[in-house]
């Protein structure tokens, strides 16, 4: 150990400190790190190999290990705990445009029937689109509409609110607010006239939501 009170210009940090450093570097690294790499990144005078050896011993029997990958080093989950990692192995894909538009219409106009969704989107809604939203549990069936044919309606779920960080569907911004946030303008078509700002969906079912 070097004398802490009078460190020479090139005194290496104590070994415990070197070990901390290696621990942080391995944790944050995008790829396994070689000993040579470690040496380059540690302060002058450090002994990367020894610090690494200490670190390996410290993690023996723990939930993660320091393992050798090729000639480099990395943290890896202990193999016996692999079954806990299943949730990490999901491939996240963006929702299709049809699905996100359908979802937006349901969120803004709920409860809404398939025919109404098609009217607002101006195109037919394929069966798979709504099935996908149902499967994601972002959408569920609401009350049947009291109109000829008694069509089913769709509403958004608690999981939907959770995923989008909303307290309630009422908290979705209205058209005017979307415009104020620049979300409408960025999509405006060329030559778009500056339309009146009062085109909130006043007669749509969504207005029911604001009455309580």
């Amino acid at each position: 150990m070097t004398d802490q009170n009078a460190p020479s210009l090139f005194a290496a940090p104590p070994m415990a400190e070197q070990e901390r450093m290696v621990e942080a570097i391995l944790f944050a690294a995008f790829e396994p790190v070689t000993v040579a790499d470690l040496s380059r990144r540690l302060p002058v005078g450090c002994d990367a190999a020894e610090a690494l050896a200490h670190l390996r011993r410290r993690y023996e029997g723990r939930g993660v290990h320091v393992v050798k990958v090729g000639d480099a080093w990395a943290f890896r989950t202990a193999p016996d705990l692999g079954h806990l990692m299943r949730n990490e192995q999901v491939e996240v894909r963006k929702l299709s445009r049809a699905a996100i538009e359908t979802l937006a219409i349901i969120a803004y106009h709920q409860p809404v029937t398939r025919a109404e969704i098609e009217e607002i989107r101006g195109v037919a809604v394929s069966r798979g689109t709504i099935d996908q939203l149902l499967e994601l549990e972002w959408v569920r069936l609401g009350r049947r509409r009291m109109s000829p044919g008694r069509p089913v309606t769709f509403v958004v779920t608690e999981q939907f609110l959770d995923h989008f960080g909303l307290e309630s569907a009422r908290d979705l911004p209205g058209l005017r607010e979307l415009r104020a946030a620049g979300l409408l303008d960025s999509r405006a078509m060329p030559g778009a006239p500056a339309g009146p700002d009062d085109d909130e969906p006043t007669v749509t079912p969504q207005s029911d939501l604001f009455q309580d």
Partner: protein, 263 residues
């Protein structure tokens, strides 16, 4: 409000103050609104914002505005609104209180302004403290290579709130360009009127009142009559523009008549 009265000769400023004010003017685009400008001016008082002299500050601000005008610098409306308000406040602070006047005292108004400045200053400092904190990805780090063991691969679809709102905005914006569909009853469209006029004009001989072309069942109910009249009027104009009919009206508000343009 009468503007010239609001901007009397600038108060006598010391040379350094004047230089400082000019420096501010050169910089005017850098200010984020009148409160920001007031906050900057208040620094010259070198006191706690709680003990600031609002009267002195009002004079500095008005002096600034006067100079900006002398230099023919266009100030945005909100700067001028603040100037008008400060001029009012200044006169209230200088005059003895009028017991008959209702509403808050000049001191209350001044205290509120001082509080607003203090609050803005506090938020600025809070913002600076926040940005100077240790930050993820700069000072401390998350796991660089989060583990995704590859055997079990499930596809999870996701979307952000921004996606959702943009999708909705996209749909609604598209709507703005779709012709509005009248589903109301009692509306006679110009297209209907055009068809009707074209069909009937062949049979009409000489000048005929426009109103005579209205269908019988559209003449009774006022709402229906209005709609049919408007549609027929527009259709008549359209046909006149195309050169197939002539229009005539003997006097203002006299019945409008039309006939097929003689060949």
């Amino acid at each position: 409000m009468d503007e010239p009265d609001l901007f009397p000769e600038g108060p006598a400023l010391s040379v350094p103050d004047r230089l400082a004010a000019e420096a501010l003017i050169v910089d005017v685009n850098g200010f984020e609104g009148p409160l920001d400008l007031l906050l900057t001016l208040s620094r010259s008082q070198k006191v706690d914002l709680r003990r600031i002299s609002v009267l002195q500050l009002a004079e500095q601000y008005l002096g600034f505005v006067t100079q900006a005008r002398a230099l023919r610098i266009e100030l945005a409306a909100d700067y001028l609104v603040m100037a008008a308000w400060l001029a009012y406040l200044k006169s209230r602070l200088l005059l003895p209180p009028d017991p008959t006047e209702e509403g808050p005292s000049a001191e209350d108004l001044a205290a509120h302004l001082a509080w607003q400045l203090e609050r803005l200053q506090a938020m600025r400092e809070a913002a600076a403290t926040l940005m100077a904190r240790d930050r993820l990805g700069r000072d401390f780090f998350a796991r660089g290579a989060p583990e995704g063991v590859a055997n079990l691969r499930t596809v999870r679809h996701t979307a952000t709130l921004l996606d959702l709102m943009q999708a909705y905005a996209r749909i609604r914006t598209r709507d703005e360009f779709r012709p509005y569909a009248f589903d109301r009853k009692n509306v006679f469209t110009m297209e209907q009127a055009l068809d009707r006029l074209r069909g009937m004009l062949g049979y009409a001989g000489d000048w005929m009142a426009l109103m005579a072309f209205l269908p019988d069942d559209w003449k009774g109910d006022p709402q229906r009559r209005r709609s049919a009249t408007a549609a027929h009027f527009a259709a008549a104009l359209e046909l006149a523009k195309q050169g197939s009919v002539q229009l005539s009206q003997s006097d203002t508000f006299a019945p409008l008549r039309l006939r097929v343009k003689p060949a």
